[in-house]
Amino acid sequence: MKKIYGLYNDDEVVSLAAKQAVDSGLKVSDVYSPFPIHGIEKIVGIAWTRLAICAFIFGLSGLIIGISFMWWVMGIDWPMIIGGKPNFSLIEGLPAYIPIAFEFTVLCAAHGMAITYFIRNWTFPGAVARNPDPRTTDDCFAMEIDPIYNQNFTKNQIIDLFKTTGAFEIFEKNLGEEPTHLNLNNFSSSNVQPANVIIPAITEPTVKDALVKIEGIGPKIQELLYGAGIFTFKQLSESKSSDILVILTAAGPRYRVHDPASWPQQAALAFENKWDELNKWQDEHKGGKL
């Protein structure tokens, strides 16, 4: 069975999505990201690594091997007195062994740990990359859910979860194969919502203003604003542009380019029915940019 992936555009959004998935009872197999996401291993339930212990063991072996070898060479195999240093006694000759012993400890610890690291990560020259999408090494974050481990959920439920948690692209694939895109609009969302995900109910008012009259707002953004509870010019004029930005950015990267700085001002004019003034303003400011 193919694994299902959702692509996200933000590290914090994907952490939250993973959290929601786990809370809904799903098992998240993995998350692929272009940089380490702090704390996500705890959410998904992946144990911290024991590489440090391994480094300690390698280092300790290096220390013991280093000192005993030098002592054996200088004091036993070919006993030498150089510069009056008493090599026959390990303790009395020790200061001269410390530098190399230290270097050898670090050498063993560092390389031993590095080799373990490469083996555990299965990285070596010629190894095949297993990230599901090339964009996950750039600016995208892929959450992987394997239906095999989630027998209690239907595929649509899994897709629903991706959709409700902000994935902008959902696909399924096997390693090394082309992905099959699961069209976002082409599935029924009538299924049960994952248990703990609650979307705040916003009471729809009877009056809705045509927010598209504001320069910079198109039908898509109007829907977004309605969805966030901004229905009227009055509400929009009272909103802070930073709050609007929150709504826009949460909706995906393509909305990030929009600059809502002028929208509250424009909305204030519209609310006061100063259409001439608004038109004049809009003529002067193409695209609604200040």
């Binding site: 272009p34 195999d77 990560n121 990359a129 297993r130 990230n131 930005l245 929150v246």
Partner: protein
């Protein structure tokens, strides 16, 4: 994500997103080199070829072509060796010590500084190898396995000799730095691999990226190994130059045997290394258009490190001078007076003025932030640090027997090899700058949200956390049923200060935050809070009151 004080200056300028960072950093790899690159590269390559020629001549003829003599047995070559090793210290210091100190500004410079380390240590290693004369027997020092024997038994290297310590120190340092550097590079090579379109390019970067995948466990291991390697590399940096100093200090030669040598050499190494990083970074930001990432603040920080380590070196110089007199040992006193007043007084003057006096200008803020002054001082410091080693080594030019006294005159081969190593170094660095990701991509991305200019000034807002308004504008969130002063504080931590913000947030975010605070908040259920906040925001207090009466502790029934 770390919270950062507002007064901290941004470390990433421009309107950057994760994608934009990738674009900017991989541009030199995919794009064509500009004119300046070609000019500098050709120049370096010509010098490098000349240097290689001189090295070949030395090896073919023998080190008789050098200017050293029985009095100054360790001359030009060990000066250059120590100089290069010293320069090689900044890289691992930046990647290790600054990582442990969580200095975010290191993210923009660590990759190149580490590359510089690798190349500088390679240059350093050339000199002892050449000084062996019969370079084809060089493996003897690395063969402590008793494979050489005479009629009495096995032949071993001398583990009591600081020169052998140096072999271990330098090779450990080189290999560990290389591993550290490469482990950091792998994820970034993967980025280039996934971006490359030309088949050959894709193939090359596929091999270089070792099949990096970037899943959770890989990153967990990556973070752990970075930290542990940093913890190992920090004492390693200290030990390596300490051991280099012991080449001199374990002897009984006046001017060489002084206990401050180990820490003082380390300080000097960091000093010269940072000066070289400064030189390279000032060039790189210009040639590779990285002004947004390598900012004036970065250069200021490096200048601060330079002035601190310069002052430490200054304290060490004065301690040495003072103790030479205080000890009452005539030989010791003479050695130091000879440095200042003997035939090499000019070298001493160079050392003092370049290393102790010139960095003091960085106590002035304007100078610290001036790129042109930074550039000049960085070069001056490197000249000064070369002369420091020269001064130390020339102590032997006038030893115990005046009949033995001699001067050192470098031959054209000496000069050619030294200049040549600078050429090779720059050639390697320039090639690196065209083929490697010169900034640590994966690390830069982690600091974008906390230190990026567009995030700091609020042009881009975190999808989850709204911008933080002034305290005066915040609402009393405790009016919401279910929110007490403690939870109000937690919400503030999330950047939520007003009813409006609370009304817009998905309650799952709040739930996440509460869960992260331990079990006592687990029972709190924020489901209704956004709707309550919405009412509060719209001043529908009666309605809210009525609803709250129906609710039990803010939990919808």
């Amino acid at each position: 994500m770390h919270k950062e004080s507002d007064i901290r200056q941004p470390l990433i300028f421009g309107d950057k997103s994760y994608k934009q960072i990738t674009d900017d950093v991989v541009k030199p790899v995919f794009g064509k080199a500009n004119k300046y690159w070609w000019i500098v590269f050709s120049l370096s390559a010509i010098i490098a070829v000349w240097g290689v020629g001189c090295i070949a001549y030395t090896i073919g003829t023998g080190i008789g072509v050098w200017g050293l003599n029985s009095t100054v047995g360790w001359a030009w070559d060990i000066t250059n060796f120590v100089w290069w090793v010293g320069i090689g210290h900044a890289g691992t210091l930046i990647s290790a010590v600054l990582l442990l100190f969580r200095q975010k500004w290191r993210m923009a410079i660590n990759r190149s500084a580490e590359a510089m380390t690798i190349f500088a240590v390679m240059m350093a290693g050339l000199f002892p190898l050449m000084h062996m004369g019969r370079i084809w027997n060089a493996h003897w020092i690395m063969m402590p396995f008793g494979i050489f024997k005479n009629q009495f038994g096995t032949l071993w290297v001398n583990f009591n000799s600081p020169l052998l310590w140096d072999v271990f120190a330098i090779s450990t340092y080189f290999s560990v730095s290389l591993v550290f550097w490469y482990i950091g590079l792998i994820p970034d090579f993967a980025t280039i691999r996934d971006r490359a379109v030309k088949p050959l390019q894709k193939k090359i970067y596929s091999i270089l990226s070792w099949g990096w995948t970037g899943n959770i466990k890989a990153w967990v291991r990556f973070e752990e190994i970075s930290l542990v390697l940093a913890g190992l590399a920090t004492p390693l940096v200290f030990s390596v130059h300490s051991i280099v100093s012991m080449d001199f200090a374990t002897s009984v030669i006046p001017g060489w045997h002084t206990t401050i040598f180990p820490p003082y050499f380390v300080a000097g190494a960091v000093f010269s290394g940072f000066a070289m990083v400064q030189t390279l970074m000032l060039t790189a930001r210009k040639v590779l258009n990285l002004e947004d990432y390598i900012t004036v603040k970065h250069h200021e920080y490096m200048n601060i490190v330079i002035v601190i380590t310069g002052s430490m070196v200054g304290v060490a110089y004065l301690s040495e001078l003072f103790i030479a007199w205080y000890s009452g040992v005539e030989y010791e006193t003479y050695a130091f007076l000879n440095r200042a007043r003997g035939p090499y007084w000019w070298a001493y003057l160079f050392m003092m003025s370049c290393n102790v006096i010139s960095p003091l200008i960085f106590f002035i803020k304007k100078a610290r932030r001036s790129l042109i002054i930074s550039f000049i001082i960085s070069i001056v410091v490197n000249i000064g640090m070369w002369f420091e080693r020269f001064v130390i080594i020339m102590s032997t030019a006038r030893d115990y027997l005046p009949s033995n006294w001699d001067m050192f005159h470098p031959t054209f081969v000496d000069i050619g090899i030294f200049i040549g190593t600078i050429g090779i170094f720059f050639t390697l660095f320039l090639l690196y700058a065209r083929t490697f990701p010169v900034l640590a991509l994966n690390e830069l991305k982690t600091i974008l949200k906390s230190s990026g200019n567009n995030y700091k000034n609020g042009t881009v807002i975190n999808p989850l956390i709204a911008s933080k308004p002034a305290y005066a504008n915040s609402d009393d969130l405790t009016k919401i049923e279910g929110i007490g002063p403690v939870i109000s504080g937690l919400l503030n931590e999330m950047g939520i200060y007003t009813f409006k913000q609370l009304s817009l947030i998905d309650p799952i975010n709040i739930k996440l935050k509460l869960d992260s605070q331990g079990s006592r908040f687990r029972t709190h259920e924020p489901k209704t809070w956004p709707n309550q906040a919405k009412m509060a925001n719209e001043q529908r207090w009666d309605e809210l009151k009525k609803w709250q009466d129906e609710l039990n502790g803010g939990k919808a029934n």
